[in-house]
């Protein structure tokens, strides 16, 4: 194995199993509709991975990840919307060539901040740079003044609330409560048919693994160790001469960028972007994906995002009233009964037995469900 210097044996096995599940098992087992749904769940996993870095490793609980998810999603949606709003396609509008919702809101020219989104290069840059800049400003203002913990959570939640109200209120520029819908093609490639959704699923999976490797690299580096030390004894790290705020700002930016990439992929996979995905409720649900998987486990976060969303779809299809009870119960159970999530359960109950059986039958292959 070439990666042994980077990943321990357990971790490599964990990655391999996750790759097996995502790249082979799901595409073989699920029909196109379900695979598309799982593609959507994968986009949430980006946020969960970012949260493992921020919250699990750094101790920074952001309840505004939906905002970053939305920033990425809206950047992508703006590009796709402009591509869909050619003068020919919008000939019946009073001003052809601008997005339909602008026309409905009596706006007769494309706003200046929409114009750069005609370029795909700019859009990709914006998906990474806008959330980074935004989180930099928030992080700089908060962490420099040593605001953390609960206050940070409340203020990020307020920011999520502001973002939703702003998007819904500025209907002419953002599509309002319906969001940006009716997206058609990406650089001429139709994103609506099932084949495109399947292709996007694989793009998602590849990008997610890229994020996982970046996150793993961050955690393994000296930076990652300082981060954990900071979470557990911030003052000691500060007194040792580290600039605690810069570490926090950096990791918060990384988490925001991952969320944003997830949001952009969400827009592509689902074909729309709306403020319901930005607000307080989805933002805090993103935290539960991470908490269920295990706040300290990168791979766990992916499983958490997939499992919770899958449970939501299944439960709300068959018992719509039960889902909120289930989700609420999950929040409470995860906090009270198993604070380290699925990964914690695996570490506590499955791993010791595996070690035992490995010691007893050294040659017997093991098949752990979850690993980190």
């Amino acid at each position: 194995m070439t990666k042994t210097s980077f990943l321990k044996r357990d971790e490599a096995v964990g990655f391999a199993i996750l790759a097996l599940i995502i790249f082979i098992v799901f595409p073989l087992m699920l029909d196109d509709f379900r695979l598309n749904l799982f593609g959507k769940y994968l986009t949430y996993a980006f946020v969960a991975v970012g949260l493992v870095l921020c919250w699990g490793a750094g101790g920074i609980l952001s309840l505004g990840q939906g905002v970053f998810f939305g920033l990425g999603g809206y950047c992508m949606a703006m590009f796709l919307k402009l591509e869909a709003s050619t003068p020919e396609a919008t000939a019946i509008q009073s001003t052809p060539g601008i997005p339909d919702f602008m026309d409905w809101n009596q706006i007769s020219a494309l706003p200046i901040w929409w114009q750069p989104f005609n370029s795909f290069g700019f859009t990709v840059l914006a998906i990474l740079a806008v959330p980074a800049l935004f989180s930099l400003i928030i992080g700089f203002a908060m962490f420099r003044r040593r605001v953390g913990g609960v206050y940070f959570a409340i203020i990020t939640q307020a920011i999520a609330a502001i973002a939703t109200i702003l998007i819904v209120g500025q209907q002419g520029y953002t599509g309002g409560v319906n969001g940006i819908t009716d997206l058609r093609t990406l650089m001429g490639w139709d994103i609506r048919p099932d084949s495109a959704k399947t292709a996007l699923y694989f793009v998602n999976a590849v990008l997610l693994f890229a994020c996982l490797f970046i996150a793993m690299a961050i955690r393994k580096s000296k930076f990652g160790r300082v981060l954990v030390a900071m979470r557990d004894a911030e003052d000691r790290v500060r007194f040792s001469g580290y600039d605690v705020a810069s570490f926090k700002i950096f990791i918060f930016c990384v988490g925001a960028m991952m969320a944003s990439v997830g949001g952009a992929m969400f827009t592509l996979q689902v074909g729309f972007m709306s403020p319901t995905i930005v607000g307080i409720v989805p933002s805090i649900e993103m935290v539960i994906f991470c908490a269920v998987g295990g706040r300290h486990s990168l791979l766990g976060a992916v499983y958490g995002a997939l499992l919770v969303n899958w449970a939501r779809t299944t439960l709300s299809e068959s018992f719509p009233e039960l889902w909120l009870f289930g989700l609420g119960g999950l929040f409470i159970a995860v906090v009270l009964a198993f604070p380290n999530g699925l990964a914690g359960l695996y570490d506590d109950y499955v791993k010791p037995r595996l070690k035992l059986s490995r010691r007893n039958h050294a040659a017997k292959p093991s098949n752990p469900q979850l690993a980190e």
């Binding site: 609980l61 908060m142 206050y151 307020a158 502001i162």
Partner: protein
């Protein structure tokens, strides 16, 4: 934005919007008082606070229905019965929640936040199953209807005045309880130094439970007052939770006076801006300014010096 209005008109606008702001202020104060006890004094994040308030509102709704059916002669007085029952219902539920969930999490505030969010989802769905998804309204007793004309241009609604008086009365009661009574001294002692408070003979567990219960009970009263100016739905509580937390944080978490001052400034700013801008922009600007100030001054308007 001021062009097109004459000076007396502007004065009347500010007075009327200011009064609308005062009603909003009363709602904020009532909601924030409970939170100021729970979050400000105990340091517990209760995301289900809005749902405790809605529980009080539903209790008021049930009581008004019961009075209308069984004692129509006494209908004018039902609100006072409802208020007491709302306090008891929310308070008892709060004490149960403290026993079942919160007491395990005092050392992990962020986890309390998640657990109480889960609780709020469960309560919301319970309300929806019990009372239906549609909003319910109560019939306001006749003495609370109508409005008082102050000048030719300015009129104030009576139910608004009532809610305001209630807010002030309960603020005073909470102040006396927190800062003048033996129980309040115990609460503050436990918050500031749990171990030492226990060592001098305060039953810290009992104090915690009672404090949480009373905070939730005050939220229940807020809910009862809420029915006098708006209708109640299963998710109404969630709409207020962010504002309420901002009010408490903005005021300085441990300061009761700060909470009232921040509720006043936020509600006035929002309601005066609302007249000149759209409602959503008024809210966005108010919240942005609050968040901005909090970034510059994280300890809030009024801070109490504490050794941490």
């Amino acid at each position: 934005m001021f062009s097109g209005y004459s000076l007396p008109e502007l004065g009347a606008i500010f007075a009327m919007q200011g009064f609308a702001g005062l009603i909003l202020f009363s709602v904020f104060v009532l909601m924030a008082l409970g939170l100021a006890i729970i979050f400000g004094q105990m340091g517990v994040i209760n995301m289900a606070h809005g749902e405790f308030m809605i529980l009080g509102a539903y209790v008021t709704y049930l009581v008004s229905q019961a009075f209308a059916t069984y004692a129509p002669a006494l209908f004018g007085a039902y609100f006072f019965v409802a208020m007491v029952l709302a306090f008891c219902a929310s308070g008892l539920l709060g004490m149960f929640v403290e026993w079942a969930i919160i007491r395990h999490l005092y050392k992990r505030p962020l986890d309390t936040l998640l657990a109480t969010w889960g609780l709020s989802l469960i309560l919301q769905q319970s309300f929806r199953s019990l009372f239906g998804a549609r909003e319910v309204g109560v019939t306001i007793p006749s003495w609370m209807m109508g409005s008082l004309p102050l000048t030719d241009l300015i009129e104030v609604p009576i139910n608004g005045i009532f809610v305001m008086v209630l807010a002030l009365g309960i603020s005073a009661a909470v102040y006396v309880m927190m800062f003048k009574s033996g129980w309040g001294r115990q609460v503050r002692a436990v918050t500031q130094n749990r171990t030492m408070a226990g060592a001098v003979g305060i039953d810290t567990e009992r104090t915690d439970r009672l404090t949480f219960g009373i905070g939730c009970g005050v939220a229940g009263i807020a809910g009862a007052a809420f029915t006098m100016i708006g209708s109640t739905g299963p998710t109404s509580g969630q709409a207020y939770i962010v504002d309420t937390f901002l009010v408490v944080v903005f005021g300085g978490a441990a300061s009761l006076l700060g909470t009232i001052a921040s509720a006043f400034s936020i509600s006035q700013a929002q309601s005066i801006l609302e007249f000149f801008l759209s409602g959503s922009m008024a809210k966005v600007i108010t919240l942005l300014v609050v968040v901005g100030i909090l970034m510059l001054r994280p300890q809030g308007l009024f801070s109490i010096k504490l050794r941490k």
